[in-house]
Amino acid sequence: MLRLRSVHSYYSNAHVLKGISLHVRPGELIALIGANGAGKTTTLKTISGLVKARRGEVGFRGADIAGLAPNKIVRQGLSHVPEGRQIFAKMTVWANLELGGYLLRDREDVVQVAFNYGLFTGAFGLHYGAEQIGASVVPSSVGNTRRQVRILKDYRTTTLVCTPSYALRIAEVIKQMGVDPKILALKQGLFGGEPWGEEVRQAIEERLYIKAYDNYGLSEVMGPGVAGECPNRAGMHVAEDHFITEIIDPDTGEVLQNGTTGELVLTTVTKEAFPVIRFRTGDLASLDDSPCPCGRTLARISRISGRCDDIIIVKGVNIYPGAVGPILEAVTGVAPVYQLVVGLENDQDFLGIRIEVSEAMFFDKMERQRAMVDRLRKKVRDTLGITPRIWLVEAGSIRQDEETAPMVVDRRGGPEAS
């Protein structure tokens, strides 16, 4: 780890260190003991570069650091906390030593949060988490993708936080704008809010030249950060010191063996305001408590493979298909026959609603019909927070094959395809 070989240091002409050799291995604590003037401080100063060694080698992690400027040595992760100055007198020894981590590169990350800030917990959760690390956070929110790309470029964003489908949209607009993604400072992305598979991951990584990480959370439990991938990206580590994880059979409620896919059930153990006990998330996953090469001992859940209820997730918004009916009824006055269509356009989710025209909704004037569609669109947007496309279809065209006509047609492909 740290190796000194025959180091000689001088204060002008005074020869203070005369061939010091020293070796510190990883995990080792070494103390230097000696009388006043023995050269303890000079040895430390020589290591941290405050005093230059005239002869000999100072090696750190296999590289020679003798002669490097002190600030460059600190940047390599080697710090010198002089006790004599009592600079941080009130802090513990450990906190003093931790100052060596002061220049962690994370603090230089620029994190662009392109989630909708509002009642959705994803944006605020990841925002404050990144600030806690000391990264610079750009709350760019959603919308105006060209502006997002300009921010990405001008602010030298290193980390993108958004839904996976929005990442693909951003990649598309980057291309349209003639920006070379390779010149961006972007190195990674944390994506969530909707289920996404390995194909989408690959597409994001290839188009944006980044590493894409999945994370898991839900607003009922904590928001984001319940679980997240490490660089090995083989499952998401659950913050087990805060949540107890179970995988159950969604039908019987029976707890399943590790490795078997079932419904994820979470219990909070540190949450004060809104504790949840055995909360059924409705998300399908499996559990793996084998050790991970990254060093974390926290168990991992697989990436979410789907849902065990009929919730659909569009643009990160959870929608119960059955809840759409009353919203439409509030505008049309009668309970309409309808069907939800979910699809992708320009790599972005959209929600479509096919509504059968009944007599109550039929107007002889186009204008009035259009006004009603506008009202429907606005009502759904106000209630669900997502602007739908509305198609009026002839009576009987959905009902026709009622037996087989599903309430939701999901054309997005991937694990959620039906």
């Binding site: 230089e108 600030e131 956070v137 709350p139 502006r147």
Partner: protein, 432 residues
């Protein structure tokens, strides 16, 4: 609680001046050393920060304008390296270029303190349930208010895109006790409540704090009577600092300035000379504690005057009046500052016309500011197919919303119709 920071809000004048001077000198030195723009400005005038030996000496220093902020996009005015920045706030700005403001962890703490003072003065305490209703164009402030209220320990519903009726429903169901919004949106809520036949007595509301727009005594009277609450106002220049750098106390007679964190000057907008006390002029701000984004003599474009008397509330912090107007062409629409040049830029980009002719029409509907762009029909936008034109208009509307955070209506007009208004292109017809 009467004060959030009693010690600082009731400092004796001599102590305050000492604190101000120390912090000013430190700010000037940091800005001079770490920000190229300020370094050059000072050097070109042959001023060294050390020449400032009293707070009054600040008048020797040059002004900073919104244009300067835009010219140094994105990180040019940051006085600390990026690794010390924890938040970067993008904002449309009102100049041609957008403005980027950075905050260190310490800056955010200061902002929380300042915001907490404003909220405390308005009667907010830790058991309150606070609801924030602001336009998307003011989302930076929405976050500042949320964090300030959380700092006090109140429960906060952050701003979100909900219809007014849903906001009102939440207000009733969640037993909201404090509403943070703009004066016009509070008036609009009142109108919607009337239409829904909702009685304000069913609400648990006890205070409304308003930001973004000046609060007239008339509006205050209507809101206080209708909601049975106290209404107080905060002030902050849009997109640069927090929403409550100056705030009203329960005396409701002028806004206390957080003088330990900011210096406020009132200057003649034309000559730049200091105004006499009580005389209306442009508000000029100098930050005293900002680390990431120090501002020196920043011209806000807002007009107000200083209030000379000490306040019976016990705060020694000097007061200014609410904003009485703006210099230049900046418009305030639902609290969002908009410059006609921004609108022109959007029209150019989206309509395909190289120099679109347009007028901006402002009016009120149900107490809310409405903005209408009257755009001249040209070949660039006109097509025989109605669909094509409609699509172009939708695109324009979307652009307006995304760039300004405001819903704008676009009306196409014949050149001859526009000619009837004796205003040059980009002019404003304000029917508010």
């Amino acid at each position: 609680m009467k004060f959030w920071n009693g010690e600082n809000e009731q400092m004796v004048k001599e102590d305050l001046e000492q604190v101000q001077l120390e912090r000013l000198q430190s700010t000037l030195n940091r800005a001079y050393k770490n920000v190229q723009f300020y370094g050059r400005q000072f050097d070109s005038l042959g001023i060294h920060p050390n020449a400032v030996s009293s707070v009054e000496d600040i008048t020797k220093l040059p002004f900073t304008t919104r244009k300067d902020l835009g010219d140094n996009y994105p990180y040019g005015l940051f006085a600390v390296p990026l690794r010390d920045i924890v938040r970067i706030s993008p904002s449309a700005g009102t100049a041609v270029k957008p403005v980027v403001v950075g905050y260190t962890k310490g800056d955010l703490k200061v902002r929380d303190t300042i915001t907490a003072r404003f909220l405390t003065a308005g009667g907010v305490i830790d058991t309150d349930i606070v609801q924030i209703c602001l336009n998307p164009g003011l989302s930076g402030w929405g976050r500042a208010l949320k964090e300030g209220a959380e700092h006090i320990g109140a429960s906060v519903m952050p701003m979100s895109h909900m219809s007014t009726s849903k906001q009102l429903m939440a207000m009733e169901d969640y037993r909201t006790s404090v509403l943070l919004t703009t004066p016009s949106y509070a008036m609009h809520m009142l109108g919607v409540m009337d239409a829904m036949n909702t009685d304000a007595k069913r609400l648990a509301l006890k205070a409304i704090l308003v930001v973004g727009e000046p609060l007239t005594q008339e509006t205050r009277g209507v809101l206080e009577a209708a909601f049975h609450v106290d209404v107080t106002a905060g002030y902050g220049p849009s997109d640069v600092m927090g929403p409550g750098i100056a705030f009203e106390c329960h005396e409701k007679n002028g806004l206390h300035i957080c003088e330990d964190h900011l210096l406020v000057e009132i200057v003649d907008p034309d000559s730049g000379d200091p105004c006499a006390s009580g005389q209306t002029g442009e508000v000029v701000l100098t930050t005293l504690t900002a680390r990431a984004f120090p501002l020196i003599r920043f011209r806000t474009g807002d007009l107000a005057s200083a209030v000379a008397e000490t306040c019976p509330c016990g705060r020694t912090l000097a007061r200014m009046t609410g904003i009485t107007g703006h210099t230049g062409e900046v418009l305030t629409i639902r609290g969002v500052k908009v410059h006609p040049a921004q609108i022109e830029r959007i029209l150019k980009g989206a309509s395909g016309a190289s120099s679109p002719r347009f007028l901006v029409h402002l009016y009120k509907e149900k107490h809310l500011d409405m903005i209408e762009i009257w755009l001249e029909i040209t070949d660039a936008i006109f097509s025989d197919e109605v669909k094509v034109v409609e699509k172009a208009l939708i695109r324009l509307r979307q652009q307006m919303f995304q760039m300004l955070g405001l819903e704008a209506a676009i009306k196409l007009m014949e050149a001859s119709t526009l000619d009837r208004y004796a205003a040059p292109s980009g002019g404003v017809i304000d029917d508010r």
